[in-house]
């Protein structure tokens, strides 16, 4: 089971909504993954197969080892869907 961690600054509002969107998209695509959300600080010490969030925020997470999925508009479901398709289909 792959784990997707959605990240935002506070880990309360935005990442929570995106998590729900990700879950809905996974269901549509018939894919399975564990999805949760958290704040930037906590995400640095939490392992996930994919870290997903706004591009400017996730620059803080890039270290060459983590799989980071950067979104330009976090609320855009089309962009989110494409990102999930390209990243999870490869696996």
């Amino acid at each position: 089971m792959k784990k997707i961690l959605v990240v935002c600054g506070n880990g309360l509002g935005t990442s929570f909504i995106v998590e729900m969107n990700v879950k809905a998209i996974l269901k549509e695509l018939g894919l399975e993954a564990e999805v949760s959300h958290t704040d930037l600080t906590t995400s640095k010490s939490e392992y996930a197969d994919f870290y997903l969030g706004a591009a400017d925020l996730l620059e803080n997470l890039e270290d060459g080892k983590r799989n980071v999925i950067k979104l330009t508009n976090i609320m855009d479901k089309k962009e989110l869907r494409k990102a999930i398709e390209t990243n999870l289909k490869e696996v």
């Binding site: 309360l12 909504i17 704040d39 906590t42 609320m75």
Partner: protein, 455 residues
């Protein structure tokens, strides 16, 4: 037995919120393992929230005595998480009840009025429920009437605040996919309004080159830790080593002590955030699930960073100018006899940035600058004015941060003081809400003549 159920079970906020989660999970016919883990996590989230309050309160106490010794005036750090966590002991059950029924009122209003907004910023729902509980209980309400009118007020705010700013949100996003549901709305509305007034022919912020280096402040824990450490340091310098080392730190060097106390505050905020995150994990999706079934073509009202991607530069500009207004206010507040509200990076970052995006949408660069400054003044003066209304909570050295909490708190506090009888108070509030909805629906009809088939 009745006592056990009413007092120990339903009277314990953690268990009450756990029961909400349990019902939500059962309603969704979740798997038994999910029911167990979801319920336990919700209760645990509430317990964590209380633990964070314990961490914060010690550090706030020391901050208050240092500040008082240095300047002879009350210094207050506005922080929603802190004040809500501190309020849970005395107002927890009522907060939980108002939150749950407020969500139901939100769904009901979205169903029957043209305002199809579902307010999905769960932590703000909780904070507003807490504010309403505190103000009304301080004003002498209790029991069923309190929960009844409190829920109606909360549910109304959950659709009215998004409705207030949606015309501007549309301008930003160019669509009706979502709107903003965040209790800083009055600040955003004022910002957009100021932008309209000052921003004739001003170019958009997005044509500027803005350095990206402030991005690290989007990390709440880092922003709180940095602000608090600097703040405690400055106050300690003014307070002097003699007082601190003899009265507070038991001999530890005063600057080392200040540094650690500042970070203790930040740690408390971090713990509370983790608790809130955990306790909302089941409740918000259940709320959304029920709302989606009952309200056709519902529009989700989301946390304020949802509009950040539409104007990245306005985010940085908005934060900076809101914060500048906060700093200016710090010197103005004591002049008019109010407590000093210390500007926090977090409230100014989130609401200032959002105000910047709204101001830019209506008035370009000038709009973003003056609009976010207006927001900065609002979130400095409103929390100071709110303190006396909060009763016993007003002495804790912290208060609610965002603009709507201040406006709603002051209005409710004023009305509750005028009418001592709960029955009259409830009638007055209902009359006011009916009037607001009436006016709102009329304005809505004028602006969108094609949306006549509502409900």
């Amino acid at each position: 037995m009745v006592d056990l159920i009413m007092k120990d079970i339903l009277g314990t906020p953690a268990i009450l919120v756990g029961l909400f989660a349990l019902f939500g999970l059962l309603l969704q016919r979740a798997a038994i393992t999910n029911v167990i883990s979801g319920t336990l996590k919700t209760v645990m989230g509430f317990v964590i929230l209380g633990a964070g309050a314990g961490v914060i309160v010690g550090s706030l106490d020391k901050f208050s005595s240092m500040f008082d010794h240095a300047f002879n005036i009350q210094g207050v750090i506005p922080n929603n998480e802190a004040i809500v966590a501190l309020a849970q002991d005395a107002f927890g059950t009522e907060t939980a009840m108002i939150m749950l029924f407020g969500m139901l009122v939100n769904i009901l209003l979205a169903r029957v009025t043209p305002f199809k907004y579902i307010f999905l910023t769960g932590h703000h729902t909780m904070f507003m429920a807490c504010l309403i509980a505190v103000i009304l209980m301080t004003g002498g309400m209790s029991g069923f009437p309190l929960v009844f009118i409190g829920s109606i007020i909360l549910g109304s705010l959950m659709v009215l605040m998004p409705a207030l700013i949606t015309p501007y949100t549309r301008k930003i996003t160019g669509s009706d996919d979502f709107t903003i549901g965040h209790f800083g709305s009055i600040g955003y509305f004022v910002s957009a309004f100021v932008g309209e007034k000052v921003g004739k022919n001003s170019k958009s912020t997005e044509e500027l080159k803005v350095p990206k280096s402030l991005g690290f402040l989007r990390d709440t824990s880092v922003a709180v830790a940095l602000t608090m450490f600097i703040l405690f340091f400055i106050v300690a310098l003014f307070s002097g080593p003699t007082f601190i080392e003899s009265q507070l730190s038991e001999g530890t060097n005063f600057l080392v002590f200040a540094f650690l106390q500042g970070l203790t505050f930040a740690a408390g905020v971090y713990i509370i955030l983790a608790g809130v995150r955990m306790l909302l994990a089941e409740i918000v999706p259940a709320f959304k699930g029920i709302a989606d079934k009952i309200v056709p073509n519902a529009i989700p009202a989301l946390d304020c960073p949802a509009i950040f991607p539409f104007a990245n530069n306005a985010v940085i500009i908005g934060f900076i100018f809101s914060f500048i207004a906060g700093l200016i206010s710090m010197f103005l507040l004591p002049l008019v006899g109010l407590s000093v509200i210390v500007p926090g990076l977090v409230p100014h970052f989130f609401t200032g940035a959002a105000a910047g995006v709204f101001g830019n949408a209506t008035g370009g660069r000038r709009g973003a600058i003056f609009g976010s400054m207006a927001n900065g003044f609002l979130i400095s003066f409103l929390p100071a004015l709110l303190l006396p209304v909060l009763g016993i909570l007003g002495f804790e050295g912290t208060t609610f941060g965002d603009s709507d909490f201040g406006v709603v708190g002051l209005l409710l506090g004023g009305i509750v003081e005028l009418f001592s009888s709960p029955a009259i108070f409830i009638s007055v509030i209902l009359a006011i809400l009916v009037a607001i909805f009436g006016i709102g629906i009329l304005i809505n009809k004028k602006n969108n003549p094609k949306e006549e088939e509502a409900a």
